[in-house]
Symmetry: C2
Subunit: 643 residues, 2 copies
Amino acid sequence: MNLAQALFAPRTVALVGASGDAAKNTARPQRYLRKHGYAGRVVPINPTRAEVLGERAYPSVAEAPEGIEHVFVMAPGGAVEQALEDCGKRGVPVMSIYSDGFADAGPAGMARQARLAARAEELGVRLLGPNSMGVVNLPGRMVLTVNAVLEMDAPPAGTTSIVSQSGTMLGTVLSRGAARGLGFAKLVSLGNEADLGAGEIVELLAADADTRVILLFLETVRDAPRLAAAARAAHAAGKPVVAYKLGRSALGERLARSHTGALAGSDAAMDAFFRDCGIVRVDMLETLVEIAPLVAGRAPPPRLARAPRVAVVTTTGGGAASVVDRFGLSGIETVAPGSDAPIVDLTMAATPQKYAATLDALLASPECDAVLAVVGSSAQFHPQLAVEPILAAQRTGKPLAAFFTPHADSSLALLAGAGIAAFRTPEACADAFAAYFAWRAPRAAAPPPSIAEVRLDIQMAKSAVARAPGYAHDIPYPVAVKLHDPAVAHKTEAGGVILGVRDREEFLRAAKALPGETVLVQAMESGLAEAIVGYRDDPLVGPVVLVGAGGILAEVYKDTVLRLAPVSEEEAAEMISEVKGFAVLRGFRNLPRGDLRALAKAVAAMSRLALVEGRPVAEAECNPVLVKAEGVVAVDSLVVMKE
Amino acid sequence: MNLAQALFAPRTVALVGASGDAAKNTARPQRYLRKHGYAGRVVPINPTRAEVLGERAYPSVAEAPEGIEHVFVMAPGGAVEQALEDCGKRGVPVMSIYSDGFADAGPAGMARQARLAARAEELGVRLLGPNSMGVVNLPGRMVLTVNAVLEMDAPPAGTTSIVSQSGTMLGTVLSRGAARGLGFAKLVSLGNEADLGAGEIVELLAADADTRVILLFLETVRDAPRLAAAARAAHAAGKPVVAYKLGRSALGERLARSHTGALAGSDAAMDAFFRDCGIVRVDMLETLVEIAPLVAGRAPPPRLARAPRVAVVTTTGGGAASVVDRFGLSGIETVAPGSDAPIVDLTMAATPQKYAATLDALLASPECDAVLAVVGSSAQFHPQLAVEPILAAQRTGKPLAAFFTPHADSSLALLAGAGIAAFRTPEACADAFAAYFAWRAPRAAAPPPSIAEVRLDIQMAKSAVARAPGYAHDIPYPVAVKLHDPAVAHKTEAGGVILGVRDREEFLRAAKALPGETVLVQAMESGLAEAIVGYRDDPLVGPVVLVGAGGILAEVYKDTVLRLAPVSEEEAAEMISEVKGFAVLRGFRNLPRGDLRALAKAVAAMSRLALVEGRPVAEAECNPVLVKAEGVVAVDSLVVMKE
């Protein structure tokens, strides 16, 4: 049968480990199914009771009636494996597992999970979890979860679906959204993703008629290619995908690993991944709750050659300033079309008519890319002044959103009901706009690897190996003399580099001073500035290419930009434009300009390591790359093959 | 009479411009005074009515009954000046002005405000505003404001007072706090601060028995010395002062200026100012609402030689991760005392007893500096699990706070009632902890200027002026040759610097190539890295000293640290420790260490420009300062005197 139907709208569900004690967590699914109006049949499975909370119980899935489409397992230990065998025998298409003790529980649990997943595949049973809090389908009234958020009486149904690696955070988003009228469609707690993962669930939601926006709460990414394909499918279906991902700090990353047992990828690589496949990334948790109406039904905004411009109309100077200040920190400009003022301040002149006319004029103005209405105390006590004009504003292609300065849940709900984005805090508001303006359509998927051999098509400084005792070489002076030992990665630090050697006499002194029978002799090169160009096959998202300012200060400042590899020269040029330190090559303080086009060629060349068959390269780096007025030359390079 | 009493607890108030139409803004103060239980006498002043909203009205303050202690003026135009004259005649000690058209309205308004303030001083009447929304005293039931937030039925009284340059944001903080049980004491809308300013109001609150914490919403600072003195007085009284200040981005700063007519100071200088006088600065608006219980009754935390450590106890992995990740971005570590884990995860083992015992153990543990309880869905539906143990936890000197992942206003209110900090978002939670750990006791106020002449006690590279045609000089080669024109500030950019001149022949070529009859000859110096040391008399906060990584890349990265001047060598050393780029002088990648002690001496010397009588220096800069293995030497310097 259809996976989506079994997962989200099964006609019969079995609850393995359903408790007869209504206060227990394991009684929740049964209580919630009934409470929220599930129209299908519920079959409690409990070996010790003939009846559970008023419904007839069966000792096992094997002994339960026909027609079960979804089994939810809460029982500990071997009951999971037993339930799986029973599902296989009875032809149950989906089993969701709340029970833990799998990849969340160290190497033994990891092995147990691998066995479970392998067996499920043999039996043709799809698994959600283990360690999943279950599935909720609000429009379909199918609430199959242990998440206590479903104690709430009438969670509003809507068109936003959420997929979460944390069961609790699923409840967080639902609970916070519900409190202000934001409704949801499908909610899926992924758990350990032994079988069904974020990618496949997003695929299902991309095809789901009830879903317009897909939210992701992620601690890691376990199957990047599948998620990327799913995000592309969602984009093609006109459904924005928005991600909040943990692990931005080293501390958070360590916790995510300890909590999920997942591999560690770099957050910068993850960022490149989201951008590459058209996923909007938000920084703040509340933005994840609030952003859906801002992106629903929209395509990524057109690429601008200037800073994005938001027209801010307000009845409160201080309230507008709190969000404008934040916009400024995110590189967003504010404008008042037809005026030099930074905002449209109606504080002393606001009437509902004036407010409405102002909004319509701004929405029609070519001078701004979006409109934000900042509303003060009237949002709480006098909605007719500004909230109603916002509700009545002409819908155009241009985003319209609101920020309310007071506590104003009912006005937030009014806007939610009308599908207009409304924000509780200036910070989440600015975060949402920044995420919206940074949103790009997915890049075409990379071609499959097809290059036969590893070759770095980047000009290197001329060099030769000179051997004791004569140390003959043909590099013209001045030269650099380097330790010739591939095992030493950071030669400068190890004292293995002598620069500016001016003649043969100096050279012999230098060569003899270095250990070993051979030295590397290299033409001295000079450039206007140093760059670093790198490549890495990230364990989570695959090949990435990096460019950054070179030299030791740039290393301290971590001034680098990363994208999924390969990139075109044009994409490389865009990366280069984002490296702050390259200001010195772009005419800053009248300094001579560097050949950034040649640098872009080098970055693109480096990124083509991703196209080598079998992707044998683990890491590669040219550092420093000297950027000259014409051309670039790499002075040192390093390639690390996979083991 | 006592200013605090007239301002916050007048026995009779007069309302100039009180409207008889209850729907108008100008009817609000009268309605609100009655609604919220004002026990004193209200005297409406309205030249066209004998009665306003059921109370006898008088045509002017001059004709009103005796005993008025506070006049609130809402009438436009000349009514303000007339009311002031009447207050003078009648001996009314305080007049608050809602009317606008003063410094908020361009140069003519600015002049009008100056005349008003001067006249008030002559008459002995203290002014709040103009453009002030008034004063609220919740414990005293004196609600003298036009702010619509007072439409709410029973704003909770508490011990936090707030002083705001934006009248609306006063309502924002009150409304958001009230929605979750956070109460307030005094609320003051400063308006244009023609007379009573932030500093004097903070002084009053420092002495106010009802106030334990003072919050500031600031768009600018108009009288830094007075605010600094008031913050010191509040510290001495054991009352933390917390500020949220706009103008962090250039855009926000421009808006603040256009909105308040205030001067522009630098945000970095403002940050130094807050730190110097012991004010806690928060980054997010919501933190301002939520932070009070975290700091109430506490002194600044002890200075740590390591990162601050917070023990995080949780029943939700994902919820804890969202805040832990954010802590990591703020340089805060998390620990689980007695374990290697980054957090104390009770997800599968939580009982109220276990939760309580865990909290008490953490609060007693010497291994952490604070405790954060992260609570999932139980905060919304089962407060007995975690919320009640938090309420019952032993109170120790160590801060205890909570972050609730679901929408849980009633649990937030329970904690607010118990004086325990509780946060709605992981971001505000991390912001509050970062602000708490960055909080310092005020520095001793700077001594008065007493140095007679401007002298930069920093070693300069040896130099001489050489004159055409012979260009004789006594600087040993190699030398640098520079354009000798004080009008050219950036000589390198102007092509006016030739470095590494090796002998007299090269020197003569170089000297003749530069324009003018004289050139500057300077000994070539080299160091391990470059620094910049600067001084500026900031228009808002006064003298500041700056140290940063030097060179053009550091300029691009804006890697500088700023403090109010003067600073001691020890304080300078602390500043230097915060400059990221100086990693290269602290042994990064085995590079040789620089003489940072000598650099600290130079910074302290530069900062003593603040002690020159009359503070004649507007700006000074040594750039670059070369930091050597022993000592530092400045290669170029610039001093700009005030006009």
